[in-house]
Amino acid sequence: MNADERQEDGITTLTGDTFERMVLQGRGPIAVEFMSYSCSHCGAIEPILQQAAALLKPQETIFRVNIAVERELAQGFEILGTPTIVLFLDGTEIGRVEGPSPEISSLLAQLTQPFAH
């Protein structure tokens, strides 16, 4: 992990430089939360997302992208608001969750069901 892949907690923060290697070239199910620290709903789901990341590891990896820093990346993925969780399987987007529920059971379902098909 280099300086651009910062892990202040259970979820690694990606930058525009590391996104391609970690997500687009990644294998298996990956969830990326596009968020911003000034977004109150992002703050509300943060502890739940931390729980989900711990429960789903190592079957599924959860990353974070801060749209206040990575504006181009957010525009590239047409992120209309935060939080938005984009789900990737082997580097291809297979779904997204906009404004995810701050309940662990619901969030776990949203993070895993798209990969079950």
Binding site: Y37, S38, S40, H41, E46, V69, E98, G99
Partner: protein, 171 residues
Amino acid sequence: MTPILLYDGECQVCRTIAHWVEKAAISPSGAPGIVVRAIGQDPAAIRRLNPNLDIWEAYAAPHVLLADGSMKRAGYAVTEVFRCLPGTKWIADILAITVFGTHPFQAVVNAAYVVLADIRPLLGCSSCGRPSGWVRPLLWIVNQVKRLFGGGHTVAAAPHFTSLDHRRKSG
């Protein structure tokens, strides 16, 4: 250590107030009574300023970090800013007045802070999240008035979702 005011640098209203504080903080000796600093995007940098403060909480309300390691937030941070500015210390002294064990003037400031925080979208903040329920009708009225009088620009809520009921509310 000079007290530090942490503010949301993404919020236009907060930036305007912070710039005013920055100017007002200069004492006759030239030394600032308080340092004004945007929160930024680095959680570790906030932890280094005060280990008890995380970046989420920093964005939830303005904080003043004091030399003894303590913090003041929201309305209490406003009072602390008054205390640190050369021309407004008297206001902080008034706010500290105790009446029957309560601080009635501080309570007014706390309430005023809550109202100001809620109406930031009306004042031009486009990064303050979805407005509170009581502000939304006012925001709608402001936008209608602007349209009526030829203003093309409307006051937009921030692109944040508040989907406690799992519906997209704003975009």
